[in-house]
Structure formats: C-alpha cells, structure tokens
Symmetry: C2
Subunit: 349 residues, 2 copies
C-alpha cells in the first residue's frame, strides 16, 4: 500500500552501532531540568524531586504492528504514546523516555530516520526527554522497547487499587475507534494484495484510521482533572479493551462494577463502520483495545465537577465486591463482564 | 549439547499474558524501601532520595546469545548482569530492574521458569527489586529487554567525561576470558553437530566458560573504592572490549591515553587457550568484549590507596589529547588504538 518513494538506501552496517545512535539522536534536545545526563554514558542520570513512575512496553513487528500499512513515522509516534499512556494513568507527568531498537539489516538508515522523526515529534509534543536506549540488529523484523518515566507528588499518584463501592466510573474520549481502524486497514491490505493498482479511499474512515495509526496519550486529562480539582480514586489506561481494564480495577480495588451499555461513548464513525462490518459496537468497545483513553473512578461528591465536560463520560459505578462486575445492557439485562482482551500468546491471533 | 531433561511442557497460550506475568514473578520479593509499587499497575513507583541512573539493554537470540549452549537460567542471570554493570559504571547502587520478554510459542512455560530462576537469583545476590516489565509473543526466538535503575549521591556519580591528563587508567579483574570462553563453546558446538554422542570435557576451561555464561557485574568495586576513599575521575564498563572503552573515555574526557600491553591483566587460562586457538591474547583483551569489568581513571595522588589491591590493575595513564590513544607494546613500540569492538550490524558476524 505504501510505496517506497525514497530511492536512497544507506546500509546500517556502514554506520555501526555508536554511529547509528549518534546519527539518529543528534536532533533531540534536553528540555527538563531534571535530566542531568541523556545519551552518551553508561547510564542516563536524572533527579526527580517527587516520586518516580516507570513503565516499559514492547512493540514487535508482526505481533503489534504491520509495516505494510503502518508508516514508520507513525510507528515511532505510537510507540511513545503507548508508554506515556501508562505514565498518565498514574496521574503523573511524563518526563523522560528511553528507546531501544532491534532491526534486521533489511532496513536502510532512511527507514530508521523516519521512525525517529516520529519519536522526535512525540517527544516534542508531549515534552519528554529522550535519555537513552540501545540499538542492535535483530534476526527478523523490527522490535521497539520503550521505557518511560514520570514524576508525581506522592498524594497525587493514582493506583488501580483505590476505587470504593459507589464511586463513579468515568472514561475519557470515545472507545473502539482504534480497533475499527485496524479492521479497515486489514481489509484494504487484502484488497491491495489482489489488485495493487487499487487506490483505497480511506477518507470516510479518517478518524478511526488515525486512532489506530497515530493515537494520542491523554496528557490533557491529568491536567484537566487538576484544574477541576478532582483526584481519581483509581485509574488505568485502556490498552486491552474496556472490559479487561474494568476487571483490573475491580480486582485491584476489591470492588464490583455496573457498566451501562447505553453510556459507552462511541464516535459515529465507529457505529457506521461496525454496521458495515456487521460487528457489535459494544463488543468492540469492550474488547477492541488500543484506545489509550483513561478509565478512572471518582467519589460521587465529585460528580458536579466533571458533569457536562465533553472529554469525560460517566459509564457506570462501582459496587460491593460480592455483586461482581456486570454490563447492564440497553434491554436492562445484566451480563457478567469477562476479559476478552487481547492475548498475544494465542496462536490464532 | 543440552538435552531437554524435563518432559513437562506447558503451553504459554494456556496462561495468557497476565497469568504468565503473575506466575513468573510470584516469588519475587520487594527488598528496597524506595520501591513503592512493583508489578501490577500501569507503572511501577519508586522514590529515590538521591539522583537516579537508568540504563537499558537488549539481548536477542541469535545475535547476543545461542540457546544451544546457553542454559536459560544462566541467560536470565547474565541479562541482569549486563544491565547492572552499567549502573555500577556510574558508581551508583543498583536498586530496581524491569524485565521485558518476547518469546515465540515454541518455548514452554518451563523454559521461562528457568529463565526467571536466573533473574531471581541475580536479583537476590545483587539486591535489586524486579518492579515491572512486559511479556509478549515474538515471531521468532527470544528477546529480553531489561531496564535497570540505581541511586547515587550527585557528587559520587562518575561519568565518562572526567578523566584528566596524567590520571592513571585502572581496570578491575582480568580481561578476555568471556571471549575465549565463547570460542571454546562455539568449537564444542561444531563438534557436537558432527558427533552428538561426544561429551565435551570443559573442565580445563571452566573459568573462561563461566565468564561467558555467568558473568558477574562488579558491584564490589564501587564498594571497595568507597572503602579505599577513592573517587574515580571517569568510569565505564567493559562490554565491547578494552580498546573501544578506552576510546570512549578519551573522546568524552578530551584526553589521550597510553595503554601498556605488559600491564593488561590476563588469567592463565586465557593465555593457554589463546595459544591453543593461535590467537593473540592482547588482541582478545582489546577487542573481545563481554568482560563486564570496570575501567576507570584516578588521580595520581590516589595511587597509594589502590596499590597492591588484587582486584585492581593500573594499565596506563591519560595524556594530553594531542598525543592520541596508543598501545605501548612489550617491544616498546606505539600502536594507535582503534575500536575493533563488536558491531552487531556487520553482516558477517
């Protein structure tokens, strides 16, 4: 689907490992005072005045992404987002990242420059410093491992474990779009295989395709909640699907939950695309994954503070643990929530 | 060379990603007061009272290790060592690690249990907390990405950049053993391919084979230097070979160096094995890599404090940058040092 419009191909071997790191990271600036040493020593050094949160995620070609429709610049951007999302889910400010990359020799330098352009853009927009990483060869494909750190005051960090019965369950943005974007891209890939001259018209799907290819982590939500003077009792990011994340909150907080189907926020494009693909949109929101929205609980007293905010939707409430975790359908029947989220070890994925 | 003596094979698919993490990490204890949250939330949380150092390294099957002679428990141990070595090279105390693992479905659960047994042993012996990671499938082979963090007082952190002309160049332990251990293992692998019934006698090579398969990071050196009241002016760990690391110190500190061939510490097994393989032992020390010893510079005034210590050898001294970096051979000729260290992107590796 994506043509190689750049005829220049510089082999990685020419540069060697150190030359490659220097070349790829030469335009990254250090922005945070807390970053004392970035790339170029045995380890990076930073000095956080508050508590540090740290998270790490792998992205693997053929498992987490498909380069036949994922532009490398978007991939670099998304790889950073996936990690920052976890930092924001702790209600922390993201400050530093490391990027480790393993690539087979089939990738020319120009491809890695594209990838790092995406990483650079993400670092700039989200105000994080690239402070280290590792660059090596792989026996097949591309693998990215990112570690992100952030900083937060002790009393502001939100764990998965703080939800209480009667707390409201709130979600940012809308759900299911990234998954449906993936369905559209997969379909176009099949069409392309049959007829490589076919130019797909993705414009009706631009919102959901962008949610898949270039998601944004919700840096704004932690800032918004601070402005609204709301401290979530528990928080998690939605990477595996709403259902799986709710069950994490329930398990860690030892509470139950009632989730209301009619409240789940869906973009109109998700609804129409679900109809086109003949998929149930609630199922997509529950199990689709890769939304990178934030799911959190707040005390009922805080409801007035968030009421009517277009970024936030109350989708349910927590209950006594004995009540379990349920979806309350539009027909007002209760269905037990089960984790249908993504299991990368399933051989039929 | 290694038989599968364990007939039990539990597929990873059965457990799923979360079940797998829970299972593999259930016996890890949190030992540090600074670790506030380990595995089980969107991010780990820690609180360092001093500055934080952070380093990350990839280990990739077929590039960095060969499972035909690397037992999985040793691999887990070594993967931790590789990272802790970078923390100690900053003169910091290692405190926390994350371990991310990508494995193909060909590995049964029991293999990963072995790997984690090695990680657990390393964590215990080196007193670090496992606080997070990611576990996913790979399209081929096994990949390990570890991030290690440590803590140090601002004034104690040793960068690569602090060496001055006339500082002494000091190395811990001895060099070249890990590389020669690898040569022996590779030779035995070839013998095994021809005759699988041949039982190799590795006992004459036990020191060098152990240095390859189960290296130890030099936690003790930072402690020793503190006892001796010596603060290195610059420090680096030897992962790519002495020559490459000296050039890093020279470049970062803007100094030159004279390294004396006759001073390079070699174990007798390295010397005899080099003779057997008809390889020059100095070349092995200069370019072999994977020694995980510490290379550092000290002020001449500090010489009396380290003199005669069996763990430390003065191998040269730093010079004005205009003099360049040279090896002074036993025949008293000067040869310019060049980085012959490992380039993983070379296609003929």
């Amino acid at each position: 689907m994506l043509e190689d419009k750049n005829p220049q191909r510089t082999s990685l071997e020419k540069l060697g490992e150190f030359g490659l790191i220097d070349h790829l990271t030469k335009n990254f600036e250090i922005k945070h005072k807390s970053t004392l040493k970035g790339i170029g020593d045995d380890a990076a050094v930073f000095d956080h005045k508050q508590q540090t949160v740290l998270t790490t995620d792998f992205l693997i070609e053929g498992v987490h992404f498909d380069l036949s429709y994922m532009p490398l610049k978007h991939l670099g951007y998304k790889a950073v987002m996936v990690n920052l999302s976890d930092v924001y889910a702790m209600n922390a400010k993201a400050t530093q990242i490391t990027v480790s990359l393993a690539v087979s020799n089939r990738f020319p330098l120009e491809a890695l420059e594209e990838l790092y352009a995406g990483i650079a853009l993400a670092s700039k927009v989200y105000n994080v410093d690239l402070i280290g990483g590792d660059t090596t060869t792989s026996t097949s494909g591309m693998l990215i491992s990112i570690t992100a750190v952030g900083e937060a005051k002790k009393e502001e960090i939100t764990y998965r474990s703080g939800a209480k019965p009667n707390d409201l369950l709130v979600v940012s943005g809308d759900l299911g779009a990234a998954y449906m974007g993936l369905q559209v891209l997969e379909r176009e890939k099949e069409v392309f295989k049959v007829n490589p001259n076919n130019q797909p018209d993705l414009s009706p799907y631009s919102y959901i395709v962008e949610r898949q290819l270039k998601p944004e982590a919700r840096k704004d939500i932690a800032e918004l909640l601070k402005q609204l003077d709301v401290l979530p009792t528990a928080m998690i990011d939605i990477s595996d699907g709403l259902s799986s994340e709710i069950l994490h909150l329930c398990k860690n907080s030892k509470v139950g939950c009632n989730l209301f189907e009619e409240k789940i926020p869906l973009d109109p494009t998700v609804i129409t695309t679900c109809e086109e693909f003949n998929i149930d949109s609630t199922m997509v929101a529950l199990s689709g994954g890769e939304d990178y929205e934030l799911l959190f609980t707040i005390a009922q007293n805080d409801f007035d503070k968030i009421k009517g905010n277009p970024n936030l939707t109350v989708i349910g409430h927590m209950t006594e643990p004995s009540e379990g975790a349920h979806l309350v359908t539009r027909a007002n029947t209760k269905i037990e929530l089960t984790a249908q989220g993504w299991n990368s070890f399933k051989s039929n994925d």
